[in-house]
Every structure is written in C-alpha cells, then in structure tokens.
Amino acid sequence: MRLKTFRERAMQGVFFLTALASIAAVAVICVFLFINGVPAMAEIGFFDFIFGQKWAPTNVPASYGIFDMIVASVYVTAGAIVIGVPIGILTAVFLARFCPKPLYKILKPATELLAGIPSIVYGFFGLMVVVPFIRDNFGGFGSSWLAASIVLGIMILPTIIGVSESAIRAVPESYFEGALALGATKERSVFKTILPASKSGVLAAVVLGIGRALGETMAVVLIAGNQVQIPTKLTDGLRTLTANIVLEMGYSTGLHRQALIATGVVLFVFILLITLSMQAIKSRSEKHG
C-alpha cells in the first residue's frame, strides 16, 4: 500500500516536472539570446544598431545598422498580409457558409495541405517560377519585395483560413436566421452579421499570419534579393531580419556574429509582442463571449 502511494506521488512529480519543461525552454531561450545579443547592442550602441542604415560588417571600421532590415521585414509582412488576408478570409467565408458538402471534403484538406508544404519548397518554387515571372513582366532582378510578398501571402493562407473558419463557425446560427428573416440575402446576412460577430477570431487569424510572415526565413532568403536597402518600388530587392541571420551566420565571427544574434533578439522581441497581443485578443474575446 505504501509503495503504491509512493509510486503515485513520484509519478505525479515526474509529470509536474515535464510540464515545467516549456517554462524552462522559454527561460533558457530568452537568457541565451539576450546574454549573447545584448552586449553586442551595447558595444555597437543601441541607437546605432536599431536605427543605423549601414550594414557593413567586413568594413574597417565595421558598421552594424539593421534599420533597413527591420523596415524590410515590416514591408514583406505587410505585402504578405495584403495578398493573404483578403483571399484567406473570403476563402474561410466560402468554406464555412457557401461550400457544398462534397466540395468541402476536397477543399478543406487542400487548404490544410498548403500548410504542410515545407518552406524550402515554397522558396524553391518561388525562385524557379515567381522570380522569373516578375523579372520578365515587371523588370528588375525578379528577386524582390513583390516576389517575397506573393509567396509569403500564399504561405500564410492556411493559417488565416483555418483560424478564421473556426471563428466564423462559432457564431450562433440565430444571427444568420435573424438577418434572413428580415429579408436580407444570404450574402448580406453572412457579411453583415456573421463576419462582424466573428471579428476577434478573424483578428487573431491575421495576427497569427503576421507572426508567421515575420518569422519566415527559408522562402524569403531565396527570393527577396537580400540587398540591404529600403525598397522604393515593389520590384526592388530587400533583406529581412531572418534572411540576415541565415546568410551571414555561417562565416561570421566576433562582434559580427554577436550582431547577428542581436538581430535575432530584435526578431524575437517582435514575435513576443505578437504573441502577447494574440493572448490579449483571446482573453478579451473570452470575456465578451
């Protein structure tokens, strides 16, 4: 009997410890990124690092300004949102309210499959198909803000579609019926009652999509051109924070390497902010729901 209680207690302890693993992981990740990245920021100068517009790690003296890359990340993310969000939300509306059942059985797994394609395949496809298309039709090198926006727009589709669809499905049917009974068409009932009622869920989908686009690396590095500059037109190349890390980590040393880690820290902080706002949206909608 006593042995049994001991075993019960011991295993409960083990389960508890495994549950702490995610806390430990986040803590260790934070600590290691910050202790490796923050001193570099201090050495370069926080202001020069964030707002500096010259990235020349091999110059003497070297410059480490990542402002152009921060702007590039924001631009690429915005481009992906402009392409992915309208198509994604409308597709979610179609799936939730307009799709005939037999078609749904094909279309739904198809959108999930889109999420399964590895980013390297997206990048390769973008490089071989989207980049030449842009080069031939819009000029420039092809590897560009536009190319990255298109491919990322497709990549965030499954996230936007999946999360929005479940938000739309969670809206009580009575709103829809109420609008129909007033003589509204099905389309008006959906767009004027159901979609507004699901707005916090749809917003969460968009925020999640932003997070994915901001953090995407392999697809972007192959198709964005990687020039450190603020693009002035859609066919200009740019280099995101993520691309900077992948491109130079392999051969960097000393302060250069630390500056790359600090780049990662900046990205990490962005993502943490997004996760936080995500949780704020969630708890708000729980309170109101």
Partner: protein
Amino acid sequence: MDKFTIDNMNLYYGKFHALKDVTLHMPKNKITAFIGPSGCGKSTLLKSLNRMNDLVEGCKITGDIRLDGTDIYGDMDINVLRKRVGMVFQKANPFPMSVYDNIAFGPRTHGIKKKSELDQIVEQSLRDAAIWDELKDRLKKSALGLSGGQQQRLCIARALAVKPEVLLMDEATSALDPISTGKIEELCLKLKEEYTIIMVTHNMQQALRISDNTAFFLLGEMVEYNSTDAVFSSPQDKRTEEYITGRFG
C-alpha cells in the same frame, strides 16, 4: 379576406412525414394561433410561411401556399417574401450591435440610407413595440445588454421596422417572465389592427386570451381549426377536447 392560404400541404424531413395534408386559410388583421403538443409540427408549419425551412437539409414540401393569392414557392423573390412576412423567434436573437443598428438593419437591407429617415423608422418601430421609453436613452448601447423581455420586444421592433404585412411569432414569449409576456400580448392585440399575426404557442391560456382563430395540431395533422371561442368552448374533435382539458401534452 384571407391573407395566407395553405392547401393540401405536406412536409417531410427526410423520411419523416412531419405535416400531413394541411389546409388552412388565415384571415387578414386577425391573430391566428397554432397550438398542440411539442413535435406536432406547428413550428414547422410556421417556418414554411416565410421559407425558413429552406435552410433545413432534407426538408421537402408539397402543396400550395399563397400570400394574397401569390404562390410564395413560385417566382416570388424569397427576400421580398421575408420582408413582407416578418418573424419573431422563440429565443430573442438581437444582433451583437447597438439597439439602433439592430432596428436599422432591416431598412438598410432594403435600401434606406438616409440618416433622418432611419432615425424616424427606429423611433417609430420602438414606439410600436412599446419599448421606446425604456430604450430611447440607450440607442447606442449594445443590444446584448438588455433583459430577456426587452430583447424580445427589440426583436419585434426590428421585425416591424421593415414594415411587414404578416408577423410570425414562434413561441415568442416562452422564455419570458409573466410581466414581459403580458406586455407582448398587449402589443399583439394592438398590432393586429395593422398586421396579420400568426403565432405558435405552447400556452393555451395565451391562445385563449389574444387569438381570434385557433388551429390544433397533433402528430403532423391539423385536427381542428375554428374561431378560438369555438375551439375552446365546444371542440368538435375528441382529441382537441382531451388536449385543452389537459388530458395530454
């Protein structure tokens, strides 16, 4: 004059024969009540009158249903039909928006954009639903914050705002307290001067209090249809008598 005519109507849910050969003519500017035990088909019949049953998968209707002599299952625009035949649901279903926007939803749907006109419709509808005084200072507040009785009267006002000819009420008071119920019954008596009201009710006292005609349903069959006084004082069918004296249901 008959507002709604139903002739030889049958309705099936999949294999289930839910309404059997119903023939029923409902006069204008009267309150017609459908009574009967749960599952007898009375709500189903009501929903056939504004084609809300079209949303139900596997629902099949045969027969002939006419509004002012026009076949509502023919080439009548379904949205126009629903504008002419308003509905109040069993459970109040205000939209998650302000009181004002709830009422204005219908008029806006039908093309009214002018603020002054909308203002006037909102006020008139709320007055007609006898809830203006309670809500006039809360027009911009969310409708979800109202009490159950207020929500249901708001839904009535919302239905009135599109100026329907017929008002369908599907057990509209079943979830409400006696005071709210009383207010809505009073309202119905006032509204029948302008509208034709068809209501489904569980509550026989309610049918007796406010309806002009009553139809009794049992197991998908319309057993008896007559003036309310006649149905309750001298039922022709034994099953009707058993039901209203509380023998079953």
